[in-house]
Every structure is written in C-alpha cells, then in structure tokens.
Subunit: 150 residues, 4 copies
C-alpha cells in the first residue's frame, strides 16, 4: 500500500520498462508529478496484458474499469532520459473493486510508490458489478503473494 513500508524490487513479479520523455519533465528538470500517474496507467495495462487479460477487449463492451482512487508518494525524482521500471502488482481483490500497487524503480532505487483502486462498473446501469471471475483467477494464478480481499 502507498502508506505502508517500501517494497523492494523483488516483491514484484512484473515490471514495465520505459524511458523518461522530454515532454514528461518540467522546469525543475524532474518528471512532473501527474506524469507518474500516466506511467502507472501504462504499467497496469502492460501488467494485464502480461498476465493474459487484454484490456478493454476482455470485458466485452458491457462493463469497464474506472479508477476511483489514485495515490503516489515521491521519494526521489526521475529525470530526462532515465531508464525506469514501473513495477506493478495486485494487492487487493474485492468483490467489485481491486487495488493495484505501483512502484517506480531506477535500478534498485525506489523513486515513487503509488496505488490505484479500480471499480468494475456495468455500463448500462452505471453500477458496480462483481469483478469478472476470469480476471480474478488470472490474477490469483499470477501473483506470488495472494492479494488481500479487504
């Protein structure tokens, strides 16, 4: 969790590599904070692809996942041209929502940690719907430590 202890790189089975773009740094010569949330979004999409859940096709157009909570803590800045890894794991699988932890590493150095919470929503009713069972099983099969159910 974004409030808890800082996880090591080895806590994550999946990480997405990317290089910091010119457009992502600011006058302070560091990655502008909203862009970490763009990185998180890219990494979650790649994580889902890696485990075999290709968003959004797998949801069949009847439902979608919406971010309802986004949090990040910034420990050290990333700079232009840095090669980063955006590590990602599911930390919570609820009935209709799930929590994903993100961690930005430059080598072994943890620069930023974040958390996104997604709710699964049925589009017709705009109401929360149970997470697709295939998604739940796919995540449980992939993650070395089982996500909480809280």
């Amino acid at each position: 969790m974004a409030h808890g202890p800082r996880p090591p790189r080895s806590a994550f089975r999946f990480a997405h590599p990317l290089r910091v773009r010119w457009s992502e740094v600011d006058r302070q010569d560091v990655v502008f904070n909203p862009n970490y949330f763009v990185y998180f979004d890219v990494a979650v999409g790649e994580y889902w692809r890696a485990i075999g859940f290709v968003y959004p096709g797998v949801l069949g157009g009847q439902s979608d996942l919406f971010a309802v909570d986004a949090h990040a803590r910034f420990f050290a800045p990333a700079r232009y041209d840095d090669e980063l890894e955006i590590a990602c794991r599911t930390t919570r699988l609820g009935r209709t929502s799930m929590g994903v932890e993100l961690a930005v590493f430059r080598g072994d150095e943890l620069l930023t940690i974040g958390e996104l919470v997604y709710v699964h929503v049925e589009l017709a009713s705009r109401r929360p719907a149970p997470l697709p069972d295939a998604m739940r099983q796919t995540i449980l099969a992939f993650e070395p430590s089982p996500p909480g159910e809280g």
Copy 2:
C-alpha cells in the same frame, strides 16, 4: 484531507475556473485521471497568485517546493467542455512542509477531491528548509479556518 469528509463548495475561499479540454478526456469520454493532478497544479499556482505569493519568483531561486505526496478520489467524472471550479485551500502548515486540499466542483457537485503535500527544499543542500515566514503569514491571513500544524 482526501480521507476525510467531503467538503462543500463553501468551505473554500478560493477556486480557479477552467473548462475541460479535448486533450484531457479519454476513450471513456471522461477526464483521464492524471489530468486531475494537472488541474491541481494549475489551481495551486493560481491560489498562490491570488493570495499574493507568486511562485516561483518569491522563493528567490535559493529554494523550491517539491510535491512529495499526491492523492485523489474520483466520485463522478468530468467530461469534455465541462466548466469546472478547482477549489483549493491550505489544510496543514508544518515546519518545512504543507498540505493543500483540492476539490473539483461542477456547480455544487463535488467530482473529485485531492491532496498535495509540498516540501520546501534548499537547492544547494537538497535538504528541507523551514517554510518562508512570509508565505506562512500570507496563508494564515487568507484562510478562514486556520490550517493544522501537524
């Protein structure tokens, strides 16, 4: 605070109006979540300008403010062309850091609430430095409810 109760529009003395840009909405036809953090950044800058603290000139080039924590909860989506108000107030004034609460309103409807924590850093040493006294006094003079000191 982003974890606390939802504040009404009247809790904020300052708000910055803006209209949602085409570039800020996504395939779901809602503002993409990282863009709320761009809105927060715009609003904090305008809040500081409104109270008479013009960033970054006032810091004199010897120090700067860095975001160390960013959090948002999304209750309802904003859409293309929506006219929003990004309300902003200082909720915590520590020795070297401060907390700012942000709230995105569409009329009286609260769409998103967020919090940013800034640390004041001396550039030469890269270490936290006491908040400039002028900044502290300016904020205390402006805010109807005194920020916490925690």
Copy 3:
C-alpha cells in the same frame, strides 16, 4: 497561411486568452512545441463556440471533423505563466475541408503561427462529406475577410 506573411493581431476578430501551465513548459523553460498544437485545438473549439457552432453536438453524431494537416512556425518562445492570446480565423472553406489559421500572441508580439486543415467525414462510410451548410454560412457571416475556396 503558415508559409505566408506574418499577420498582425488586428487581422483576427477572435482570440482565446490562456495562461501557460507548468505542465506545458520543458527543461528549456519554454512551451514544448506539441503543446502549441493543444493550444490550437483549444482555440479552434472556442472560436467555433464563439461564432455559434458548438462542436461536436452540431454535427449530430453522423459525421465528424478530423485534422489532416497541422503546421506551426515558432518565432519566439512562450514561458511559464505567460498570458497569451491564441487568435484564430478561417482562411479557406473548401467543399469538404477547411483551413484555419492560428496565431499565438503575447501582447502584440507574434510568437507562433500555425495552420490546421480539417476534413468533414461521414462516420458510416468514413468518406469526406460536404461541409454542413450552416457551418459555412456561420463562418462567412463572422469573418471580416472572406475565406478562400481553394
């Protein structure tokens, strides 16, 4: 046109004011060039709103406008917090496409000039369709110098 002479501020009946955001400048402390195209997009939308053509509602969902050409020349940089005007006028009204000229002013200083070409496309067939007559008339009624038909 972007290749022609530099127009004065008085050549434009419409301009949209905006202030440069922190997220829009780069390590060189100038607006990063792709963001001028975001400004152009914002200004065209506001220009259409100002003349009474509210995109995209007016198209009724059957067709849409797509940018097929985008060009800008950069004469002098805009910086963080600059107050700019993005001037906009229609310079060409063809059968299925139109050209819009954009000019970024800081006071009377012309910083950037650009041109966008839009094609009106019927969504079902994905083919160009005649510009809506109401749009054509609205533009002709607004512009002090009649756009070319080339």
Copy 4:
C-alpha cells in the same frame, strides 16, 4: 519533406518502436494530433542516440537546438494499443539548421508524415550558430542518402 511523395518504410535506416498509450487517444478513439509531435520528439532523441549523438550532453551546455518549424500530415489514424514505428532521417543539413523527416508506420502502412526543423542556437547570444561539425559528420556517416544542404 512533408509536402513531397510518401516515403516507404525502407527509405529509413532508423525507426523507434512504441505502443500507443491510453493517455494519447481521444474521444474519437484516435491518437490526438499533438501527440504525434510528442512521438516525433521521442524519435528524434532516439535517432540521435542511435547514431551516437546524445542530446543534450554533447552540446556541452553552451548551445541548444530549438524547433522552429513543425509539420505533419495525417493519412490514417493510430489507435489505442497500436504498435507503431516512428521512422526518422535527416533530410537537410544547413549551416545553422537542419530538417528531419518523421514517418509513423503501423507495419508497412504509413499513417502520418512530418517534418521538424531545428536551429542550433548559442545560448549566451541567443543567435544561430553553425551546427557542430561532429554532429554533421555523424549524420552524414549514418544516412544512406546524403541530406540536402539547402
């Protein structure tokens, strides 16, 4: 050139692969046009890296390259998750400026073509300065067809 014939993929010795991000597509479900200029910027940086010219370090802090002209033509849209190649080559080497051609391919399909013109500026005087000879030689050694000098 952006006005000339459409080059095939084989005309480019260098191309940078990337996947379209969620943040880069719009309500029309296509890459929003300013983001192609972000892709161009990423590709030029990678092109320079690939040929051994690592921007901006190689310029030694005394000078910099500024984009003075940006142009793109859009033939077909890229969509979320598309795997693209951003091909890049130097098409013109002047005394103080150079032209770079960009082409966005999805497989063999040319989606977008663009051109950027950069001027080499001495930072102290803010005046154009001759392109560094090492840069010129590096580009000439890499490009299969010699760039024009116009």
